[in-house]
Symmetry: C2
Subunit: 340 residues, 2 copies
DNA sequence: GGGCGAGTTGACATCGGTGTCACAACCTGG
DNA sequence: CCAGGTTGTGACACCGATGTCAACTCGCCC
């Protein structure tokens, strides 16, 4: 381990001067600076983070706590987004996956405190309310993809209502007038919000919202798990005499089954049926034939926005500190919707 | 910030004694220990990581460097696996996503050095060779899902050959004798290895390996990207007069298109055609109807094994230090393969 | 020539823990 | 009752950086 002292001895100056060079303190003679910098290079000196942190009593590390990121694979993009923002803040990320276990969660808050992290991002797999309790943690906390029911922390969440609106609006603009919906589980907040979006778009387009055209694609089992029943749901919609010309899906997995149901009935996408996904999971949307038009969940942006907001909360950058930031869900056009 | 001294003053003992209690040093009187422990609790004292690290000159943090985890979403399970192993080692994880940019990579090695991380895991999205160059980093490095062409570091990789063997073997045991293969891009190491696995299983089962029954499901574009052409590849196989009764897929995305091709030809899975996936991406395998039988890429285990190996390399736990660990790819049976 | 300010540098204390070693208190057996 | 050992505790130095403040060297002006 090369230390300040080693460099100082080599350069024939005091440790403090080396420290000044490392920290771009202008009060160093240009010639000295140059000489020291050269030696730093040559000796591969890297300042010790621990010592620095101890002296300055705060860290350049931000803690990121997540529940199980596994179930919705693209939600890790929250982490990539956070990473990307932190990179620009010349910060790094200490990651903690709790698998939703409150005991682990509690322990990680301690770890964060021990590391004196500059702040924390608490990210969840699903857009949902959370209650952090009182995590005795002094620095700022931002919620990503979730929000505090008690409004105790700022949150960054996807604009599900806007996403729903976008889905419906796009189909209406293409001329569709009978639109079926195979939605997510009705208990999810996303379902409720998107439903509101559909209605707004329908109303704007002068369409009648027919509840019988909206069926859930997931059902909750007694054990709490979920079964994907979109295939049968879609069959039901497509076998009606007043068959819809387009189907809005609660997510891309539902779309897979809608495609299958259409194929089973001899209907082809998009000629006989337009299909609109949600989430934009590329392993699905780019794999289906034809490729699926979908509305993206902006996970990356959510992570990115969360760390920016965190910096503001910690007073390290300027800007407003809204209690909630909605991140838009953009339309990603591919080939599963056509004008009618 | 509550410090050792604060606790010591409150407890009427020396800081060193508090330190002993915190570190479970047996040389403390039971009564003293209890009293101090109580005060630690009450004051919410958490030892400062930086100070500890500085004194002991090594950290309880392990660096994890990844290229773009985004493209193959489940590869983040490497991270979850690492996290899980580290949790048991009471360690935490500093994560660095380089997006494959060598400049960022270099900088993160510096960051790792600055943090005096106990070691590093270098994980990639695809199973592939890597050349780390000379990352002037003194602690142990383990490669996860990749391997060093120069054999300079230990690596943990999926047993692709065994996985290929498992795919073929399962179908042969179900009685299939004509098996088609829609493979990944031929340039991938995984493709080569699995090919070897197929051949072994075929030979064991007394099957003739017919090269015309193996077609690529991905083609590389001039710009380096890849196009998924499994639909057409599968159509080709299924329209032959000697149509295969089963198709082995290079991954689950290929299987999606094989399903679609079968449906287009009026063939149903698994009655007319058995389909075997690879990767076990659950958002696909559990979404397809019928659910897809697949061979899992054991990402979680890879991450888990990598940190265990790292601990051995750093001399913190006992055990052999193999230059390469193969992690088996287990069969996950669902409903897309049937006996014939 | 003396004084003053700007520019440059270094001595020293300090951050919050832990290793080392000394020492006091208590026990044991002869 | 004392030598010799065990147990429990604290004083002190130190890890590697940086803030504070003093000191020293100039150049410049009165």
């Amino acid at each position: 381990m090369v230390t300040l002292k080693d460099v100082a001895r080599e350069a024939g100056v005091s440790p403090k001067t080396v420290s000044r060079v490392v920290n771009d303190d202008p009060a160093v003679n240009a010639k000295t600076r140059e000489a020291v910098a050269e030696i730093i290079q040559r000796m591969h000196y890297v300042p010790d983070h621990a010592a620095r942190m101890m002296r300055m009593s705060h860290s350049s590390v931000v803690g990121v706590m997540t529940d199980a990121v596994a179930t919705t694979p693209y939600s890790v993009d929250i982490i990539r987004g956070a990473q990307s923002g932190l990179w620009e803040q010349t910060r790094t990320m200490l990651i903690a996956n709790t698998d939703g276990d409150p005991k682990q969660e509690h322990e990680y808050w301690q770890v964060f405190r021990a590391h004196k992290v500059a702040g924390a991002v608490y990210a969840t797999t699903y857009h949902r309310p959370v209650d952090l309790g009182a995590p005795d943690f002094e620095r700022g906390i931002v919620l990503a993809n979730c929000y505090s029911a008690r409004r105790s922390h700022s949150s960054v969440v996807p604009d599900d209502e806007g996403g729903g609106y976008t889905q419906a609006r796009h189909l209406i603009e293409l001329g569709h007038r009978r639109i079926g919906i195979v939605s997510l589980s009705p208990v999810l907040r996303a379902t409720v919000l998107r439903g509101a979006g559909y209605r707004t778009a329908f109303a704007e387009g002068g369409l009648f919202y027919d509840p019988s055209l909206e069926v859930p694609g997931f059902v909750t089992r007694p054990d709490g798990g979920e079964d994907l029943v979109a295939y049968d749901a879609a069959l039901g919609l497509l076998q009606r005499s007043d068959r819809p010309t387009a189907i809005i899906c609660g997510n891309d997995q539902i779309a897979v089954q809608v495609y299958a149901a259409a194929a089973a009935l001899g209907l082809s996408v998009p000629e006989d049926l337009s299909v609109m996904g949600f989430d934009d999971m590329t392993i699905i949307t780019r794999t289906l034939k034809p490729m699926l038009t979908s509305v993206a969940l902006p996970y990356f942006e959510i992570g990115r926005t969360a760390v920016d907001l965190l910096a503001r909360i910690n007073g390290e950058s300027e800007g407003p500190i809204p209690p909630q930031v909605l991140v838009p869900c953009p339309l990603v056009e591919r080939h599963s919707c056509r004008p009618i």
